[in-house]
């Protein structure tokens, strides 16, 4: 970005330098750095415990579930899609995993854990595949497809459990995947880090990943460029549901039970994390790192509000407001970017 590219944006004059710098960072990186900085500052000043080691590690572990959900959402958003069924995937994944583990528990904990996780994972993949088929091959708008899917799946989850939690999971399941540590790091954090590395390779270094952006950027142009847009779209929903499935399994292990009412907040929270992280809801734009930071930011805010003992209903108000603010700020950013354009 050179200094003389922006007609209409006042530059150069000495007192304006700080303002210019702020503008530049904002245009480059979006609203997120400012959100994060103000959040950390505010919480460090107003609470005693925010910057303590134990609180940080709690935040990191808590953040993993949302990070994974946000990454899953990002993949779909990149293709101009939307996944509102992400929450019910958590619920159904959790229920199926638990029921399968309970049913196979006579075979011993190892077999039960493996079969249960396999069943839960498969369930999420089937839901994702159904979304993908509807969106890619039957041209159902993603909004409608995944909204309907969330109704279907949620109904099935409640029907199959009667709304009561499924208990009796093998002790080792929670011991390892919920509370376990490896080299002093929580297992969910390690799993999440591994997934992030893979997703990074996928979106930045594979052809299929590049096609995500292309399809979201212009589906018609992608098709004329020889890309099988339908198949790629379908696969996006499958891969995305796989990532959600991993998160669902980790959360089930943490809760030590199968719950048909978990995950309700994830559609909104994952979209909020993406939007705050600069993912375009119109497709084609989004960076993995920023989405992760977006998710971390939301967890920060929640954690801070808990430390400040803010009413949980008011927390919902705050998250909603932040989502809107992020979108408004991003629109303004794009306008500045178009003017500075370099």
């Amino acid at each position: 970005m050179s200094a003389n590219t922006a007609p209409g944006v006042p530059l150069a004059a000495a007192p304006l330098k700080l303002k210019t710098l702020v503008t530049r960072v904002f245009v480059r990186a979006g609203i997120l750095p400012w959100f994060l900085i103000s959040c950390v500052l505010l919480l460090t000043l107003t609470t005693d415990s925010f910057l303590t080691g134990s609180n940080i590690s709690t935040v990191a572990r808590q953040a993993t579930y949302l990070i994974l959900a946000a990454v899953a959402q990002m993949l779909v958003l990149l293709t101009r899609g939307l996944d509102l069924s992400i929450g019910t995937m958590f619920a159904m994944g959790s229920v199926v995993t638990s029921m399968a583990m309970v049913a196979t528990s006579p075979m011993g904990p190892a077999a039960a854990i493996a079969l249960g996780m396999g069943a839960g994972m498969a369930t999420c993949l089937v839901i994702g595949a159904a979304n993908g088929i509807g969106v890619a091959y039957f041209n159902v708008p993603p909004f409608v497809m995944t909204l309907a899917m969330s109704s279907i799946v949620s109904g099935l989850a409640f029907y199959s459990t009667g709304g009561t939690p499924v208990y009796g999971l093998p002790y080792e399941f929670s011991e390892i995947f919920g509370y376990g540590k490896l080299f002093g790091i929580a297992v969910p954090v390690i799993v999440t880090a591994a997934v992030l590395v893979l997703v990074h390779l996928y979106v930045s270094w594979t052809r299929a990943g590049r096609y995500l952006y292309a399809i979201g950027g212009n589906p018609k142009a992608s098709e004329l460029s020889g890309i099988d847009t339908k198949f790629n779209l379908f696969m996006t929903y499958v891969v995305s549901s796989g990532i959600t499935g991993i998160s669902a399994l980790l959360l089930t292990a943490r809760l030590e039970s199968g719950e048909s009412n978990i995950g309700v907040e994830y559609p909104l929270m994952s979209i909020a994390a993406c939007a705050i992280g600069g993912v375009s809801l119109f497709g084609g734009i989004g960076k993995l790192g920023n989405v992760v930071l977006g998710a971390v930011f939301i967890i920060f805010v929640q954690n801070g509000m808990n430390l400040l003992q803010l009413n949980s209903y008011l927390q919902m108000v705050v998250i909603g407001l932040l989502l809107i603010l992020a979108i408004v700020a991003d629109n303004y950013r794009l306008k500045l970017l178009a003017r500075m354009a370099d």
Binding site: T206, R207, L224, G226, G283
Partner: protein
Amino acid sequence: MAQIVEPGDTARAAPRPPSSLEPHGPVDPAHAGAPLLRLEGITKRYPGTLALDSVDFDVRPGEVHVLFGENGAGKSTLIQTIAGVHRPSSGRIFLRGREVTLESVRHARTLGISAVFQEFSIVPQMTVEENLFLGDEPRRGGMLDKRAVRRMATEVLDRLGFELRPGQHALYLSRAEQQMVEIAKAFCTRPSVVILDEPTASLTERETERLFELIEQLKSEGIGIVYITHRMSEIQRIGDRITVLRDGRYIETLPVAGTTQERLVALMTGRVVDQIFPQIRSDPGEELLRLDGICASSGSETVLEDVSIRVRAGEVVGIAGLVGSGKSEIGRAAFGILRPDRGSIQLRGETVFDADAGIDRLGPRAMLDRGLIYVPPDRREEGLAMVLPARENMSLAALDLPGFSRGGLLRRSAEKRDVSAVAKRLALSPMNIERRAEHFSGGNQQKVLIGKALLRIGAQPEDARGRVVIFDEPTVGVDIGARMLIYRAMRDLCEAGAGVVLISSDLPEILHLAHRSYVMHRARLRADLPACETTEETVLSHFFDPETD
């Protein structure tokens, strides 16, 4: 009402029939025959650019005054100034001899200046009549006066001779009918000056004919028309005078009669034709592409009727015709994005489509693999992902080639190197391949689109041998510099042994670049002309219906 007669121009002296199409307001007798509208030294400055630099312009009653120039020459800015969209930075506007300040589009309208812009302002969910009076609805006691709307809408449509039902929803109208609604909208206020911005761009030839009849009628009623077009044939057909703009500056005003196309192109571009169009050596080799008896339809409309064409290696084949004549569909059928109903297509001897033998179209992926590349006409719609960087756009169709990926993994440094090389060849400006496509100018966006095809073909000249590259309107909305580079890229492809197909509405392009030309007319192949017969007259003679038709 004083008769409006241009001194020394008896052709315009036809007495005006008494009609309700009275131009707005009386003409000051002292100014009869003087310009209806006169602009003096109009300058429009935007931050960083001078869009109009002291331009003079006038419109006389009963004439069609053509505004001519390249994209970015300032035509749009000028008509927006006349229509009241924005005010000039300096300069004066006179309407019937009186100086006026145009406050807004609405104000210009009440003064009798109406514009029909290229972009439609129709709300599809509303009816024709609702659209006509949108923003200016007749009311009675605070409520919409629906009966008045119907009466006034019927009146204006009858007057213009448009066969549109006022109660019809705009959604179901064809593009031409929508255009008619736009025109009718301009006439709701009884204008004396009408601005038409490329009105035929989306019309079929029959509809174009209807529009020309309407324009003749308006002229006979003493209305002054400002007409923007890029088509030489239209200028010859309906223009009286022509004003050429270049880079925001006034160049010259000439009578249409007696002005040659070469002169216009030279005035428009500031260069002579030979500098714009490169000489392309033709060395026709083996036959690469062959369409036989192709028939195709889109909905209930026939878009191709028994079309057969041949493309050989080492030649540029032009396909001319009006919009809607089916010329674009030839390219789309060859690329496998339009499924013909009948006929067969062969690419380098291989049958890639045959309706009788039950061989279905292969689609873009397979055609690209077989060496046929189609460059779509609308870069925004089908060509580029605007939010992605130029680099990702340019490499998109080539990513599955071994040079760009291996086993599904991208080779990003190779990608960057090859994209940079092509960007340099096309003189992308600014030379920043990480910049988003949407932030480039139109001409440079087009370079990105052309670069995309070049990358698919490969960097080496010998990679082009035996390929078929179909350019569909490659220079629409492109400045002269970009145009020259695009032509040079086409020359390089052809001389390296590719078969180049140039589908274009720009006649000079076909005349100067193609070695052989086909002319499409109403979904049929009208003519197959060798280079020596490809002149403006012969091509144009096939554009329209014969006089006796």
